[in-house]
Every structure is written in structure tokens, then in C-alpha cells.
């Protein structure tokens, strides 16, 4: 086996853009190939990856479109490699086709999404409008794992984690970032996973293992098409049972000051930074405000949220989309009588000041 030098020894504090962080994380995680197609604001992930790849014995393929980037990623995974791709917006739309194949066939693909404005081409800048699509896109059932990051440390930690989650559980895994995280610079600690006792789950080949098929071993026959409803129903039920059984191990969330919270702020991704900042300011002013952030937006920490939500007087869902998070929250809390309000800014950032103002207006 080719032994390339380690990209990072130990750990170090650096100051860089989010796209660079993702490229470093994928390299440190031992990703072997990136398949990609240009789209803003994802491009620099490819730019940094292609600069680092030859130094560490990694590969890159620029495909003809996102459909191909997704399907070549599927191919890389079938060949038993830690393969990944990255996209945004309309590219994410096209990526849903290969990701639905990965979902059906339990393929551990890793896709980094740098959300931009939508629908359509919209802006190349920022949004949280790809939440629904990333969690539930394609003609499927949402058997996916989606980590919503809030900044560079998350981008680094969860990009590494995504490879492990994907290969451990064999469901397509997503890192849901956004254009702001892609383009902004802030400090982050990057590290060799081993230095933190993180061992990488080995990737295994689905196809092309040694031996002549039919002679030394059975051939591998993989499909996503079924002739009969009963066959499909069984596959989906089995996969969903697996997904639901592992979900509690996968679910991650963050919370602060929820115990006595009258108003519970619910947000994900970078917006949660504004919510957290606002919560602190409001607490200083004496408002009983709590903060809850799902890190896995799929599977969603529904039980944990319900427990907190039932104690609160009002929930405020804050997002840079028109109710995509709110829909998931509402669905998760069915039957809970706490009022759900929202602060929605599709395609635009949410600042601390705005959240403070909004919460004050609720009192």
C-alpha cells in the first residue's frame, strides 16, 4: 500500500476559509479521491484539494456535471475508497439523483453542501434553503445523515466524522455548510485524527475483490431496481429499521440555558451562532431565554427537543430559509402545545441584534 506522508502531525491552530478547512479535513480523514464539478461557493474545496492531493497520494476527477460527480463518487465508494464530492444549490439538485442511489444501496458517500441562495440559480452567496433537499431529497425516504455545521471547527470535526459515520453505518452522509462558512476566515484547530484517538473506520470494496467470481467466490450483484412491490417494501422496511435503530447513536445537538427557558431559540448551522449570542445578551438583561441547536438535522433530535419544548412558553425558530427548519420542528413536536413562532430570512444572514430585537418583541 502506498504510504503517503501525514498531512497534519498532531494539531495546529490556523486561520483559514471554510473551504480550505474542508479540504484539510478530508485529507486528514484519509479521503482518497474527490470527484467534483465547479459551482460557487464550493469551488475552493476543489482548489485546495487539488493542490494537496498529489502531495498525499490522493486523486481528483473533474466531471462533466454534478450528476456525474455524484455517480463517480458512488463508483469510488463501490471500489472501496473514501470518496467524496461537494456542491451547492442547483448542483445539489442534480446531486439528488446519485444520492438517492446511495440511499437505496446503502452506499457511504460523503457530500459537502455549501448552501447558496435558492430556488434556481438565485445567489452564489448564502442560505439555509437546502435543508429539506439535503435531508429528504431524491425519490426516497430520507435515510441519510446530515450534520449542520456552524463554523470552521465544526467543518473540520464533522467532515472527518462524516467519513466515519458513512462507513460505519453505510448511509449517505452530508456535511451541510453554507457560503458564509465557505468564504469566511476564522481560527480553527486542525489535527491528525489519530492524535485525538479518532480511528478511521476502514473502507471496504463492494466490488472487485480478489478471486474469480463464480469460481473462487460468488459474484457480487448489486441493484437498485426491483421487479415487485413486495421486494422493494422489504428492502425499505429493513433499511428503515436499521436507520431508526442507529439514529439515537447518531443524533447530536447543543443546548444552553434550557432548564428555565421561557423562550427557546431553535436554529441550526451558522444561524445558531446568532441565536447563541442573542441568548447570552438577553440573559444578561434578565430574559429567560434558552438555546437549542440540532447538529444532526437528519436524524433530528426530536425527543430531546420535545422535552425542552414542553417546558417552554414559546419556541422561536430562526433560519435563513422560509420555514424549512420550522417544518421539521413542527413535525417533531406534533402534539406539543407550546407556541411556535419563527424568524425567517431566506437567503440572508441573521444577526445577533435581530434575534435580540425579535425576542424582545415577544415579551
Amino acid at each position: 500500500m502506498f504510504m503517503a506522508p501525514k498531512p497534519i502531525e498532531g494539531e495546529k491552530r490556523v486561520f483559514m476559509t471554510g473551504n480550505e478547512v474542508v479540504a484539510w479535513a478530508a485529507t486528514a480523514a484519509g479521503a482518497e479521491i474527490m470527484y467534483g464539478y465547479p459551482i460557487t461557493p464550493q469551488n475552493e474545496i476543489m482548489h485546495y484539494w487539488t493542490r494537496m492531493a498529489p502531495k498525499y497520494g490522493r486523486k481528483f476527477l473533474q466531471t462533466e456535471d454534478e450528476i456525474s460527480a455524484g455517480f463517480t463518487t458512488v463508483g469510488g465508494v463501490l471500489a472501496g475508497k473514501r470518496a467524496f464530492t461537494a456542491t451547492a444549490g442547483p448542483g445539489n439538485t442534480l446531486m439528488q439523483e446519485p444520492m438517492s442511489m446511495a440511499e437505496m444501496m446503502r452506499l457511504p458517500t460523503v457530500l459537502v453542501v455549501t448552501q447558496r441562495g435558492g430556488p434556481s440559480t438565485a445567489t452564489v452567496i448564502y442560505s439555509q434553503q437546502e435543508l429539506t433537499m439535503t435531508c429528504f431529497g431524491g425519490n426516497g425516504e430520507g435515510m441519510r445523515i446530515v450534520y449542520s455545521t456552524s463554523g470552521h471547527q465544526d467543518l473540520y470535526d464533522y467532515t472527518i466524522k462524516a467519513f466515519n459515520t458513512a462507513w460505519k453505518y453505510r448511509f449517505p452522509t452530508f456535511v451541510l455548510g453554507d457560503g458564509y462558512q465557505s468564504k469566511m476566515r476564522e481560527p480553527v484547530t486542525i489535527y491528525d485524527p489519530e492524535a485525538r484517538n479518532i480511528s478511521m473506520v476502514p473502507a471496504e470494496a463492494y466490488m472487485g475483490n480478489p478471486g474469480t467470481p463464480g469460481v473462487d467466490r460468488d459474484p457480487v450483484h448489486l441493484r437498485n431496481t426491483y421487479n415487485m412491490e413486495e421486494e422493494l417494501l422489504k428492502v425499505i422496511n429493513d433499511n428503515m429499521a436499521t436507520y431508526e435503530s442507529i439514529a439515537p447513536e447518531i443524533v447530536e445537538y447543543q443546548e444552553e440555558e434550557v432548564e428555565d427557558a421561557e423562550v427557546l431559540l431553535i436554529s441550526h448551522g451558522i444561524v445558531s451562532r446568532a441565536a447563541q449570542g442573542a441568548m447570552k445578551l438577553l440573559r444578561e438583561e434578565g430574559f429567560k431565554v434558552g438555546y437549542f441547536r440540532p447538529i444532526t438535522v437528519r436524524p433530528f433530535p426530536a425527543e430531546q427537543l420535545r422535552e425542552r419544548a414542553e417546558k417552554a412558553k414559546c419556541l422561536l425558530v430562526i433560519e435563513s430559509a422560509y420555514g424549512q427548519l420550522k417544518r421539521i420542528v413542527t413535525d417533531s413536536l406534533y402534539g406539543c402545545t407550546t407556541t411556535i413562532k419563527s424568524y425567517m430570512k431566506p437567503g440572508e444572514s441573521v444577526t445577533v441584534e435581530e434575534v435580540v430585537e425579535k425576542v424582545r418583541s415577544l415579551y
Binding site: 456525474s68 472487485g208 463464480g214
Partner: protein, 249 residues
């Protein structure tokens, strides 16, 4: 004493009889592919990908590691495998709709990038699995479910000449040919050369003229007549690009 026809050893007996319609051309193409693989003794190295459409029925056809993908997407899946496992031999198997319509960008770009894969495309002039709609290869005036009065060249253009196109955009060293199920030995020879081109590090593309009595609504005689008299006239059988044409030096 009856003599059973010999089955290629890469055919998987457990999944026979196969699921193609009586009179379908696919098994002949798959037989030619088997023979070519066996002559080259590369069974251990082949990964076989099939598309959506009738080609998907080949998903468990062989004693070969096989993956059935999406409509038009077999070329990128096999490309993705081959990029990280250059020791394998990748075969992407699809129909004319998959290769020339929904997946044409993948065919064109994999040829232009000289991906080290072999694409085999079965041309039966229409979409078989979905019930006989017009394909890019439907002949002028040919009746299909979506051209019930015959394909109008004015409205829908001319049938796609795939190998001619691929030959003009592919790299030197690549191999491009059009065979026919009416000459399986020749088809096997072409496929073998295609696999050899891949083994030598180049792209290869085979179009195989095939039969679809089910959707053509033809009897045995008419089926062969359509292939020999009409398809073969429009779609020239032969080699369009061979590594021998590679300039020396």
C-alpha cells in the same frame, strides 16, 4: 443424444433462463462480451455496470461483479470505480436511450477525457423497457409509440450515429466500432479489441445493432429483415477508430 448449446463460462447458470424477451438481441451481445472476456482471461478483473432500460436485466446475468445503476449513469459509475482501481476492467453496458439521450454528456465527456473504460451500447432503435418510444436511433419514418405516424426528420432530426461521433472526439489509441448481433463472431472480435484498448489505457466504445421483436411487433423473419435491410443500411457496421491508426513517434 441431444447436444446442449454451450453456455459461456462467465454466464451464471443460477440466473438462467435470463429475463430478456424471446428474440431479444441483448443475450447475443452479452454472449459476445462473455467470449471476449474469456479469451482475454480477465474474468477476475472485470466490473460490469448496467444501465436502466432492458440492459438492467443483465444485473445478475454474469459470474462477474456487477452493479446496476441509473438511467444514463453507468458510464460515470464505472468511471468512478476505474479512477481508483485502475487494475480493474470496467464495462458500462447500456441502451441507445441511456447512451445517446439521457447519458450523452457522460459518453461524450468520458470519451474526451479518454477514461479507461469500455462502453457497450445496444442500438435497437427505440426505448424497449418503457414500451417502444422514439430513441435517438429511431430511423426516419419508423413508427414508435411517440412517433405513431413515423419519425419526422423535420421535427426530430436524424438518427444519432454514435460511433462516428465518438471516433471524432476520442483520443488516439482508443477503439470505436459498430457491430451487429447478426454477426456475433465479428461483434466478439470488436468487443475484444475494445477491451484490449482499455487494457492499454484507452477509452473504447462499441455500438451493437440489436433486435426488439416485442416493440417492433415483428415476426422472426421481419425482425431479421429490419436489422439487415434497414438498420444496417443507415448504421454502417465496422471499425471507426483503432489503435493501429495511432501515429508512430
Amino acid at each position: 443424444m441431444s447436444v446442449q448449446p454451450q453456455m459461456p463460462r462467465t454466464w451464471r447458470t443460477e440466473t438462467k433462463p435470463h429475463k430478456f424477451c424471446p428474440g431479444c438481441g441483448h443475450p447475443l451481445v452479452l454472449k459476445a462480451l462473455s467470449w471476449a472476456i474469456e479469451e482475454l482471461e480477465i474474468e477476475e478483473k472485470v466490473v460490469f455496470g448496467c444501465d436502466i432500460g432492458c440492459s438492467l436485466l443483465a444485473w445478475d446475468f454474469f459470474n462477474l461483479d456487477s452493479v446496476q445503476t441509473h438511467h444514463g449513469r453507468t458510464t460515470p459509475v464505472i468511471t468512478g470505480i476505474k479512477r481508483v482501481r485502475p487494475d480493474l476492467v470496467g464495462v458500462a453496458y447500456m441502451g441507445d436511450g441511456g447512451g445517446y439521450a439521457i447519458g450523452s454528456q457522460h459518453l461524450v465527456n468520458s470519451a474526451m477525457r479518454n477514461e479507461k473504460v469500455t462502453v457497450i451500447l445496444v442500438n435497437n432503435t427505440q426505448y424497449g423497457m418503457t414500451g417502444g418510444q422514439m430513441a435517438p436511433t429511431t430511423l426516419p419514418n419508423q413508427k414508435t409509440e411517440t412517433t405513431p405516424y413515423g419519425r419526422s426528420v423535420e421535427e426530430t432530426g436524424l438518427p444519432t450515429k454514435g460511433p462516428e461521433m465518438v471516433a471524432s472526439i476520442s483520443s488516439e489509441g482508443s477503439y470505436v466500432a459498430r457491430g451487429t448481433v447478426s454477426n456475433v463472431r465479428q461483434l466478439k472480435k470488436y468487443i475484444k479489441r475494445a477491451l484490449e484498448a482499455q487494457l492499454n489505457g484507452n477509452f473504447s466504445f462499441i455500438e451493437a445493432l440489436s433486435l426488439c421483436p416485442t416493440n417492433w411487433r415483428t415476426n422472426a423473419e421481419e425482425t431479421w429483415k429490419f436489422l439487415e435491410d434497414q438498420m444496417s443500411k443507415y448504421f454502417t457496421v465496422g471499425e471507426f477508430k483503432t489503435p493501429a491508426q495511432k501515429k508512430e513517434g
